[in-house]
């Protein structure tokens, strides 16, 4: 029996598509999965493949035509079959639903059928879907076109979306016959339906067994989380981020730290941490590598003459990055005290929002958790961020003797659009050398 191929609807707002190419001509024989035509919306180009085999009996539109979605495009069938009923614009005489007749009392009035109906939305009509089902589909990111309608009059109702959540997208009729129920396919058909061709391409993944449904709790995301989320996503989406790792001998740092611990209070010095020392050294090293102390807009590279150091702080409400202004001119005790101050304000939530702006470079520290290396995400429009890792014990051979020392890792992420790997590595190398000679660095 002849079947019509319709112009698919690509998304709810698309009203029509332009045919860019017919791959088959009228009279050609067509095999299931053959490319029939290519069409485009204002955003993308799509291919439509045949879902059945047969002869391409009629083509209703030519290349370049702007065709309303869900309109019949062509007919596939056997020689001699009548195609006139598929002519676009022709009202198809529907068979009168005998169930619609009213029936006498006490006899079953079988008007809505028995049990679950599976009805496809009628051609030319908008998808019928309950607000609740639409809501749920949107929340789950599911394409409503992939749902099988089981509500009254072909309406998609909530349970249909529920089914979709559990079983994944729908298959075209042609594909339904041949798929492996444990497989995951990439759907390329109407509204993400998995076509016969998709099945033929093979499974993307085989699920040994369906995952057990997990228990969970929903919690509305607080605003700061949303802001962080957006910033992080924007950062990764718009930059070419590259992370390089290096480690250095932290003996010098640790020596200094021990001195501070034992003598610092007496000398009137604050409790200077390893991180303070890294901040101090970085600020002083950065000014020789100004591509890393910069903002990059894609058009303009803005290099700063001073270092406003962003210091990432982990708070109950999420990540915050207050700024140490003029960090390259601050003494180590000043850095220590100021960092403590802005960090506690961030944690308390009392920090002036102005102090969260204007950073030229950022340092983030996961060292206390024993992280050995990571890929920090740049705070746009900055061009780099330094991740401070934890201490590890390493061994080295020196004059035929094996000795151990404390090593600290640094992970530097750069925006490769603004800076290349080699200059970044040069900065990192210099920073490591400076840190290995931290006591001398204090004289700079």
């Amino acid at each position: 029996m002849a079947v019509a191929v319709i112009m698919p609807r690509q998304g709810n707002t698309v009203e029509s598509c332009i045919i860019t190419k017919w791959h088959k001509q009228k009279g050609d024989s067509v095999k299931q999965g053959d490319m029939l035509f290519t069409y485009e919306t204002d955003k993308a180009t799509f291919d439509e493949e045949a879902e059945v085999s047969g002869k391409l009996l009629e083509i209703f539109f030519k290349e370049g035509d702007d065709v309303p979605v869900l309109t019949n495009m062509c007919v596939i069938g056997q020689d001699g079959e009548d195609v006139s009923e598929f002519m676009p614009g022709k009202t198809v005489e529907k068979k009168k639903d005998e169930n619609e007749k009213s029936t006498e009392e006490e006899k079953p009035a079988d008007m809505a059928g028995h049990g679950i109906l599976e009805t496809e939305p009628e051609t030319g009509e908008a998808v019928r879907i309950s607000p609740r089902a639409r809501n749920r589909a949107e929340k789950q990111g599911l394409d409503i076109n992939a749902a099988k309608a089981t509500g009254p009059s072909g309406r998609i109702i909530e349970r249909d979306i529920e089914v979709l959540e559990k079983t994944g997208p729908a298959f075209t009729k042609a594909a339904a016959a041949s798929y492996d129920s444990r497989a995951v396919y990439t759907g390329s058909g109407i509204g993400g339906r998995i076509t016969a061709a998709d099945v033929k391409k093979g499974a993307v993944q085989i699920n040994p067994s369906a995952p057990a449904s997990a228990e969970y709790e929903d919690e509305n995301v607080p605003n700061i989380r949303k802001v962080i989320g957006k910033a992080m996503q924007a950062s990764l989406a718009t930059m070419a981020q590259l992370t390089i790792n290096m480690s250095f001998d932290a003996s010098s740092l640790l020596r200094f730290r021990t001195t501070i611990k034992t003598r610092g209070a007496e000398m009137g010095l604050p409790n200077i941490t390893l991180n303070d020392m890294v901040v101090y050294a970085t600020a002083r090293t950065l000014l020789k590598h100004r591509d890393l102390n910069a903002h990059f807009s894609g058009e303009v590279m803005r290099r700063f003459n001073t270092v406003n150091m962003g210091v990432a702080v982990d708070t109950d409400r999420g990540l915050m990055v207050p700024t140490l202004y003029g960090c390259d001119r601050m003494t180590l005790p000043e850095i220590c005290e100021r960092t403590k101050e802005i960090a506690s304000m961030s944690k308390a939530g009392t920090i002036n929002p102005d102090l969260l702006k204007g950073g030229t470079f950022t340092i983030t520290n996961l060292g206390t958790f024993g992280v050995e290396s990571f890929t920090p995400v740049i705070n746009p429009p900055q061009t780099a961020i330094l991740g401070v890792c934890g201490l590890t014990t390493r061994a080295r051979e020196e004059n035929g003797r094996i000795s151990t020392y404390q090593s600290m890792g640094l992970s530097l992420t750069i925006d490769h659009r603004a800076v290349d790997g080699a200059p970044a590595a040069r900065f990192l190398k210099e920073l490591c050398v400076n840190l290995e000679n931290f006591e001398a660095m204090l004289l700079v």
Binding site: E105, E106, P108, M111, G115, P131, R132, G151, P152
Partner: protein
């Protein structure tokens, strides 16, 4: 049906004839000289002054309506003005002897009565009392506008009266009722001026209720219903007169309560009703006064008096007051007058001749009364002219104030958009309307019904088994407890209706109350639905609490005006001056066919100003009745006759013996569920619970069943919360589906829960048919199966369900096309 009254067939079947006494017609014949002993010159002159104030007031309105100006000052008054030019002598004569304890109720044509009664009250009240009234009324808001330059308190009070009335007519916030009453509904209770009524004859039964209030609560004064000749064609007027002349007042009521109601049905017989002429065209009485003869053996002391002579009217009122003081009311007066100004200023008088108008103008009361005072040397023309001149100045002064937007502003509905909304209900909680000992005949505990109830089970199940009907505390007992409690708390509470005493009400709710209460608190009324509600309106607005009963909800139509125009409106039309603590019990019938089985909650819910509840469990019935009887607003209290013997099936601790209230407006979840919500009004709750059981057992669908309990007000939060959970809702009740409250609720739920709905809210109501005989009721009222069919066809197809009813869209369109 008191047993002590024997209806003797020998008496009833005896032959004889009914004799009527002659009815006096314009019997007053004294001259001014004859009256000089009774009236001083000042009295005579004041009568003229009051008449001239009314004449000038009405002429001012006439000029504004017809020429857009008065004394050269332009003003547009788009609202109504039904003028009483020509009728001044009748209203001034009537008011002359009345004081503030005497209440008058009027019609759409009552400006003159307001002014006359107000001027008479001012004359009688002390300066101190006058100031008190003016200073406390709306915290002196009206007084502040008018107080300037008057030489005496009574002069100030006259300005206050005229200004308050005119500002009310002009819809000013400084009117007697903030402009919410207007021309046809102006009044001022501190002077004994009770609501005028825009419905012809509307005051007849309301005034009867006021007279009932005075009698039951032993208050001073009489009540006059001022209505027109044409209103005699209105049923409620007849009902009011029949109610007022019930034999029981003289034969069954006892002690100080014995005797007739202190009321005069005064017909200002101005010869016309709209363009219809009552004598010769639209009525057949010849003399209106004739009517009194048919009502009771006293013939209502009926007579025709000459309303064109103020002294004749004063004489009549003096005589009738004596009759009322002797507890021989009611009285009917046919007060002749003439409607010079037509029905309204738009009336071109096409139905009457110029000769007729001229002939009455020749006898105009202001002219003839003045002439007779001159002839009998009471005063000279010069004094009258000066008086007319100062009246004109007075009206002009007040007119200027009343149209000045600065001192007489309109209500600010932009700045305070809830100004009217806030007045629709008074929402007060008043335990008792007066603080005195309620009159009862026995201690509550000794009441036989109370003792009987004490032995009953207050929860429907005992150890999982149903309690037998005889041992069960039933819904009728629950209502009884609430009503009885209030009778022992509020001394003003009265209950009456079509069957309230002896029998204990047609459905035995009041059984036991007869023993506990005297007639003056519980009585059977005439089968006069309009009068039953209308009197309750009058009783409530005077300060009492009434619970009245119409037996079948279907009889609400008989009291249409009283339920839809009077009971709901007076609180707001009085701008909060009046309260309406009236509970109307109506019962939805069953088994009794088309005119005795209808659920008319929707009709009541449509009318702004009524609270509407429909409890269907004993716990809810008692709690809601307690709340209704403790409030200050009118409540239509629906009951279901199929449920009077229901026990409490939900509150496992049983119906509390003590007092508790359930706030009006809160629906109640009777069964929790997760897959579908069923919201019901009325007895359908039990069908819905049955449907829920089937859904769960057969289709694995868990239904949440909510009982609306109240219709107005209604808190949607609980329902919306349920729908957010289930995504689906069916609404069901025994009301005919079209235009029902269910449809209104469904629409509101669509708006409030749209994004959560998996299908449109579906309404399963009764058919839009007559209610057929009991044997066919299952084809008419919603059944459990209907609810399931509707869910299957319109909300979510149920596996293997076979429908018996047709709820398809095609059928819906067909039914609507056919209007059924």
């Amino acid at each position: 049906m008191p047993k002590e009254q024997f209806i003797d067939p020998n008496e009833i079947r005896k032959s004889g004839e009914i004799k009527f006494k002659p009815i006096p017609v314009n019997s007053y014949s004294r001259t001014i000289s004859d009256e000089k002993d009774n009236f001083s010159k000042a009295d005579f002159m004041r009568i003229f002054r009051d008449m001239s104030i009314i004449r000038e007031f009405e002429s001012m309105l006439n000029a504004i309506k017809t020429t857009g100006q008065y004394n050269g000052i332009e003003y547009n008054h788009p609202g109504p003005a039904h003028l009483s030019i020509g009728q001044e002598a009748s209203s001034v004569g009537q008011a002359y002897l009345l004081d503030t304890d005497d209440y008058i109720f009027g019609s759409h044509r009552s400006h003159g009565e307001i002014l006359a009664k107000g001027l008479s009250a001012i004359e009688k009240l002390s300066d101190k009392r006058l100031m008190e009234i003016m200073e406390t009324y709306f915290d002196g808001a009206i007084l502040k506008v008018v107080q300037a330059g008057q030489s005496s308190v009574s002069e100030l009070a006259v300005d206050f009266l005229i200004y308050g009335t005119l500002a009310e007519i002009f819809a000013r916030e400084t009117g007697f009722h903030r402009g919410l009453g207007g021309s046809m509904h102006a009044f001022f209770t501190p002077f004994g001026i009770y609501p005028n009524n825009a419905i012809v004859g509307g005051s007849a039964d309301i005034a009867t209720g006021a007279a009932l209030y005075k009698k039951v609560n032993q208050k001073k004064g009489i009540v006059i219903a001022n209505i027109g000749d044409a209103s005699l064609g209105c049923g409620p007027v007849w009902e009011g007169m029949c109610f007022a002349s019930m034999d029981q007042f003289r034969k069954l009521w006892e002690g100080q309560f014995k005797g007739g109601l202190p009321i005069i049905f005064n017909f200002f017989n101005n010869q016309y009703g709209m363009g219809g002429q009552t004598i010769g065209e639209t009525m057949g009485y010849g003399f209106l006064a004739r009517f009194g003869a048919g009502v009771n053996p006293d013939q209502m002391h009926s007579e025709r008096i000459d309303g064109y002579n103020p002294l004749a009217v004063i004489d009549a009122i003096r005589r009738k007051k004596e009759i009322l003081a002797a507890k021989k009311g009611p009285v009917l007066l046919d007060t002749i007058t003439y409607r010079v100004s037509g029905h309204s200023p738009s009336d071109a008088s096409s139905y009457r001749s110029k000769e007729e108008i001229d002939a009455w103008a020749q006898q105009d009361s202001l002219i003839t009364y003045r002439r007779s005072l001159v002839e009998h040397k009471v005063s000279g023309d010069g004094e009258f002219e000066a008086m007319l001149e100062s009246t004109k100045d007075l009206i002009t002064k007040v007119f200027k104030m009343a149209i000045d937007d600065k001192i007489s502003p309109r209500m600010d509905l932009v700045g305070s958009p809830r100004s009217i909304e806030d007045l629709m209900f008074s929402n007060e909680k008043i335990e008792k309307m007066e603080d005195r000992e309620p009159e009862v005949l026995m201690p509550y505990e000794e009441n036989p019904r109370v003792m009987q109830i004490a032995k009953k089970e207050r929860f429907a199940f005992s150890e999982g088994k149903p309690v037998s009907k005889n041992k069960l505390f039933q819904l009728r007992d629950a209502i009884f407890e609430a009503v009885a409690h209030k009778f022992y708390t509020d001394p003003t509470l009265v209950a009456y209706g079509e069957e309230n005493r002896d029998w204990g009400g047609a459905f035995a709710v009041y059984r036991g109350l007869t023993e506990a209460l005297p007639y003056n608190r519980l009585f059977n009324s005439s089968i006069s639905e309009a009068a039953i509600i209308g009197t309750a309106v009058g009783y409530g607005m005077c300060g009492g609490r009434a619970i009245v009963e119409l037996m079948y909800c279907d009889f609400l139509g008989r009291a249409g005006d009283e339920v839809f125009n009077q009971l709901p409106k007076w609180q707001a039309m009085s701008a909060g001056v009046l309260r309406m603590p009236v509970v109307v019990r109506v019962s939805v019938g069953s088994k009794y066919g088309a005119q005795h089985s209808q659920d008319w909650t929707s009709l009541c819910a449509h009318i702004p100003g009524l609270k509407v509840v429909f409890p269907v469990t004993p716990y809810d019935a008692k709690g809601l009745m307690n709340a209704a009887l403790a409030g200050s607003d009118p409540v239509i209290f629906f009951e279901s006759q199929s449920l009077y013997d229901k026990g409490e099936e939900f509150v496992e601790t049983g119906v509390p013996e003590g007092y508790y209230e359930i706030p009006l407006g809160e629906p109640d979840i009777k069964k929790t569920g997760s897959d579908i919500t069923i919201l019901t009004i009325g007895a359908t709750l039990y069908k819905a619970l049955e449907a829920a059981r089937i859904l769960e057992e057969k289709y694995g669908m868990s239904a949440e069943v909510i009982d609306a309990r109240s219709i107005v007000p209604f808190n949607y939060e609980k329902v919306v919360e349920s729908v957010r959970k289930t995504g689906r809702i069916v609404l069901s009740s025994d009301a005919c589906e079209r235009g029902s409250q269910l449809k209104d609720m469904a629409q509101t739920i669509s708006e409030l829960a749209f994004d959560y709905l998996d299908a449109p809210p579906v309404v399963v109501g009764a058919r839009n048919w007559i209610t057929p005989a009991h044997e066919y009721e299952k084809f008419f009222f919603p059944q459990p199966g209907w609810i399931i069919d509707a869910i299957h066809q319109k909300i979510v197809p149920l596996k293997d369900h076979v429908s018996m009813q047709n709820f398809t869209e095609t059928e819906q369109i067909r039914l609507n096309k056919a209007g059924v």
